[in-house]
């Protein structure tokens, strides 16, 4: 194992308070990550202090997901929050720099919660093909 990684379950309601505690202890916000798990979204808020990796985790329904912003605590969170909003359709309440869906210019709305199109099937070889 390269490093120990602590994953702590939190509730969306307590996210801001828990995040504030991390800031007070001197943690750096590493990332916010969303993973689609069927009809749910898993949200991960990762922090680091002297290479101690701590991750807050909770789940939300895929449709109508809302979270409070932590950009008032860690200003740099605005990039991650715009990202999860644009790619996964997560509604972030109170983002200090909300691009309102224009952070990424994507061909379709919320592409990362769409089912992947099936991979193209190679055409069958014809007689005489090398």
């Amino acid at each position: 194992m390269i490093e120990e990684q602590t994953i702590i379950a939190v509730m969306p309601e307590t996210l801001a308070a828990e995040t504030r505690k991390m800031k007070e202890q001197g943690y750096r916000l590493v990332q916010i990550c969303v993973t689609r798990l069927g009809e749910e979204l898993q949200l991960d808020y990762s922090f680091d202090l002297n290479r101690r990796f701590v991750n807050f985790r909770f789940r939300l329904p895929k449709t109508g997901a809302r979270v409070p912003s932590v950009s008032g605590i860690y200003w740099c969170a605005f990039t991650y929050e715009n990202e999860i909003s644009d790619l996964f359709g997560v509604q972030v309440d109170g983002n200090v720099l909300d691009f309102k869906g224009t952070f990424y210019k994507t061909a379709m709305k919320h592409p990362f919660i769409q089912d992947a199109a099936p991979a193209p099937v190679p055409a069958p070889a014809k007689p005489g093909d090398q």
Binding site: Q5, K23, F78
Partner: protein, 359 residues
């Protein structure tokens, strides 16, 4: 208060090889606020993991970026290996370390050239890139590729560096080191360069942490944090301490990168002296079932991959948080209060890689 004007900077700009846009709100010649905008070329490579076999996906991970391509592949492979509990041969770990540090040298030299071009020192730009070509020659001789190496795979490495080639590599590094000393000397001591960099775009240690800065941007503000301290690959066997400087200005960030050039040469020499004989790869069977946050130090800073598998050949999720993405908020903060003429140089002090950011 002077008149406020919004000046669009990018996405097409002489100092930007890749598209990023910043709205600069200026009062006379002073920037009072900057609003970044990315996403012009977002490629959705993370989504592609749903279609590609997890073994094949190494090739995609390497193509996230054309500069730190090898380290992207390494980060991905390490993540998969952690999930599948694959013990990589020690020799492969040393090979990864050597190629990773060669990548860092050529990336920092690329940055040095762009930076010199940014502040109008054209001969320094050409000199930096000439030396970089020499590093690429070594990479080509040892991997067969100059930009995309394709030499890292899940379970180890695809290629070995035989002893005679290792001796040649070290002799070439001596020449490169001498050339880099000349470049670093100009960056660190030339009055015209220092005039453009010293005291410009200061980020304090506390701000760098709270703003989520990584890599030389973080270490240039006095935080000696480097993911190589996690002792991945062969770093546990090598003598390594992160380089940092306390000033937090543009000069400080440049000085960290200049010092890291020689640190990487030293790390390659250490690795070459200690690399053991043995296999370079193990056979991989099964599919990844589990999750891991894989963290590695790229030339621009910490990269984080979240990899989650469900026991099938396709991963459930692959997410890459690249260093430039983390360094955008610090950039925005350092732009506020600077002179308009300093903006191009300030942007280059974070060594932006938009290709990574738009993965």
């Amino acid at each position: 208060m002077g008149n406020r004007t919004i000046i669009p900077f990018g996405p097409q700009h002489p100092v930007l090889p890749e598209p990023i846009h910043i709205d600069l709100i200026v009062e006379d010649e002073k920037v009072v606020e900057a609003v970044p905008s990315i996403g012009f070329i977002h490629r959705g490579l993370e989504k592609l993991v749903e279609k590609k076999d997890f073994i094949e996906y190494v090739y995609v991970a390497e193509r996230i970026c054309g500069i730190c391509s090898f380290i992207h592949g390494q980060t991905y492979c390490q993540g998969i290996e952690e999930i599948m509990k694959i013990e990589v041969p020690v020799r492969a770990k040393y090979l990864r370390t050597i190629w990773g540090e060669l990548s860092r040298i050529h990336s920092h030299l690329l940055w040095a050239g762009l930076m010199a071009d940014g502040f109008g020192f054209e001969s320094l730009f050409m000199h930096s890139w000439r030396v970089r070509e020499h590093v690429l020659d070594i990479i080509e001789a040892t991997t067969g590729g100059r930009v995309i190496f394709g030499s890292c795979k899940v379970g180890g490495a695809r290629r070995d560096i035989p002893p005679e080639q290792m001796r040649w590599l070290l002799s070439e590094l001596e020449v490169i080191e001498k050339e880099m000393r000349l470049i670093a000397d100009i960056f660190l001591n030339d009055n015209s360069v220092k005039h453009r960099l010293c005291g410009v775009g200061v980020i304090s240690k506390e701000d760098a942490i709270v703003l989520g800065a990584v890599g030389p941007t973080l270490r240039g503000s006095g935080v000696a944090d480097d993911m190589r301290l996690l002792k991945y690959a062969a770093f546990g066997d090598l003598d390594f301490q992160p380089i940092s400087r306390p000033e937090g200005d543009s000069y400080s960030r440049c000085a960290v990168r200049c010092a890291e050039l020689f640190q990487s040469v030293d790390l390659i020499r250490q690795a070459a002296a200690k690399i053991p004989e043995g296999d370079i790869a193990v056979k991989v069977t099964g599919n990844p079932d589990g999750e891991f946050f894989s963290r590695v130090e790229q030339p621009r800073g910490e990269v984080v991959y979240y990899i989650k598998g469900n026991g099938t050949k396709n991963l459930t999720r692959f997410r890459a948080r690249t260093p430039t993405f983390a360094n955008v908020p610090p950039l925005v903060k350092m732009l506020a209060g600077c002179e308009l003429a300093d903006v191009p140089v300030l942007v280059l002090t974070i060594d932006p890689c938009i290709s990574c950011t738009e993965r």
